[in-house]
């Protein structure tokens, strides 16, 4: 484990400094590579797939660089893969954002808009983007080890994942509706929140990812 390599896939969408720093913080022995080189990604022991910004631009770059195929290969190889934020959304079949965008389709489900008139149970208007610290109700999974039930994580997003397979939902969050905060299938795990910005609980999730075998 001491010399393991963790590849953070760089497809030119935003800053990866924070997520790389957080991984280095929890895994000082590991080599964290922010890379757009498919050979480096393939050689890595585990892969983090981030994403920020608009899905149309993200998917355009992912497809141009053939990272959809690369990611499929990584997942098929059995190594642990973690999708974060728009990285999670890109794994789904499609998104409503930007008038509809086809995504990678590694996980069944759709990415939907929270809506302009989002309200809580008491009828109070909710702001979009969903921005700030919200609670995640999680299942049993190695990535939640040593994380309290209903711990808070930092979210910032206007679109949410509607899972196609309820058995893949590893965590839910409430914001005007119940949405998937985390999904998993075999060696693939994906989260809507930003673990690299979620202080103790977020760093613990990354620590768990760094030590994860890829089995549920």
């Amino acid at each position: 484990m001491s010399s393991q390599q963790i590849a953070v896939i760089d497809y030119g969408m935003g800053n990866l400094h924070s997520v790389a720093s957080a991984l280095e913080h929890v895994a000082p022995q590991a080599q964290v590579l922010v890379t757009s080189d498919p050979a480096q990604v393939s050689a890595a022991d585990r892969v983090l797939f981030p994403g920020v910004g608009a899905i149309r631009d993200c998917m355009a770059e992912i497809k141009r660089l053939k990272f959809d195929t690369l990611l499929r290969e990584q997942v098929a190889s059995g190594k642990p893969v973690l999708g974060v934020c728009v990285g999670m959304q890109a794994l789904m079949e499609s998104s409503e954002e930007n008038d509809g965008v086809d995504c990678i389709g590694l996980l069944p489900g759709t990415v939907r808009f929270f809506g302009k008139d989002l309200r809580d149970e008491a009828g109070q208007k909710l702001k979009v983007p969903h921005m700030g610290w919200n609670q995640v109700h999680h299942t049993h999974h190695p990535l939640w080890a040593d994380i309290e039930q209903d711990a808070r994580f930092y979210f910032v997003h206007s679109f949410y994942v509607e899972a196609g397979n309820p058995e893949q939902v590893a965590g839910t969050c409430e914001y005007g509706k119940t949405f998937s905060a985390a999904l998993t299938q075999d060696n693939l795990f994906a989260v809507q929140f930003h673990p690299e910005k979620s202080h103790t609980a977020g760093l613990q999730l990354l620590r768990n990812f760094v030590g994860w075998s890829g089995k549920p």
Binding site: N134, K197, S198
Partner: protein, 256 residues
């Protein structure tokens, strides 16, 4: 289960040093923004904001390095405002590790700048900072107007219309400062905060005038703010973040 309201300490940073003195007695270097941010992080601050007041171009490089150090050590969201005028300024700050940038005067000078910035980097990282001041003209209902240059320069722009326009242009959040209240310690301008919060669909951070914990809670409960920003009450050790959170929780506000 609900989204927590946020408490955001704000640091004024000049050439990589905290100004308006932070007075944590047990901190090694109270002038180092990273040390101060770490302390606030340990205390449970929900985010940290750096207001960069560096005048010189060279000084901006120092700010970039400060942001880089902060992003390597403090794992909560960081907003950097002050002096953000070009797409290149935003790119530099985000690449250094800032999560959001605050745009103020540059938005007033060119409202399309916000649109270009949101298109390029996503609305989630574009905070439009609004400095508003009440104007009372004879024969007219009082209203709030946007001021620039630290509240010295009126623009004639109505604050509510401006907030709506900036949101339409892609602002993901509004940082609202009452220039009438800033530095007074008399509390937020709650009417202004409520008017802006009701007018826009994005989160609003209330700022300007906090003198005690009641003011923070009022900003949320009466002003409808999603987050509250304060500087001096935390910097001078009058109140700690945990005290503020305990008080707000007592008032029925969801906190982290």
């Amino acid at each position: 289960m609900a989204l927590a309201k946020r408490i955001i300490p704000c640091l004024d940073v000049d050439n990589g040093r905290v100004v308006k003195g932070v007075q944590f007695v047990d901190i090694r270097d109270a002038g180092d923004p990273v040390e101060v941010a770490k302390r606030y992080n340990e205390q449970g601050a929900d985010e940290v904001t750096f207001l960069d007041i560096t005048a010189s171009h060279e000084g901006r490089d120092t700010t970039v390095h400060t942001v880089e150090r902060m992003a390597s050590e403090v794992f909560i969201p960081l907003t950097v405002g002050g002096g953000i005028r070009k797409i290149e300024d935003i790119r530099r700050m985000l690449n250094a590790g800032a999560d959001k940038v605050g745009i103020n005067s540059a938005a007033v000078a060119n409202p399309d700048f916000v649109k270009a910035a949101a298109d390029r980097f996503g609305a989630q990282c574009i905070v439009v900072a609004i400095d508003a001041k009440q104007v009372n003209l004879e024969g007219e209902a009082p209203r709030w107007e946007i001021f620039t240059h630290g509240g010295r320069k009126p623009t004639g722009i109505d604050a509510i219309e401006w907030a709506e326009r900036m949101t339409a242009n892609g602002a993901g959040e509004i940082l609202l400062t009452s220039m009438d209240r800033d530095g007074t310690r008399n509390g937020f301008d709650l009417k202004l905060t409520r008017a802006i919060s009701d007018a826009v669909s994005v989160p609003v951070i209330a700022s300007g005038g906090v003198g005690n914990l009641q003011h923070l809670a009022d900003g949320v409960l009466e002003g409808g703010a999603d987050a509250v920003l304060a500087a001096s009450i935390f910097h001078f050790g009058e109140y700690s973040i945990p005290e503020a959170k305990a008080y707000m929780r007592e008032r029925g506000i969801e906190m982290r």
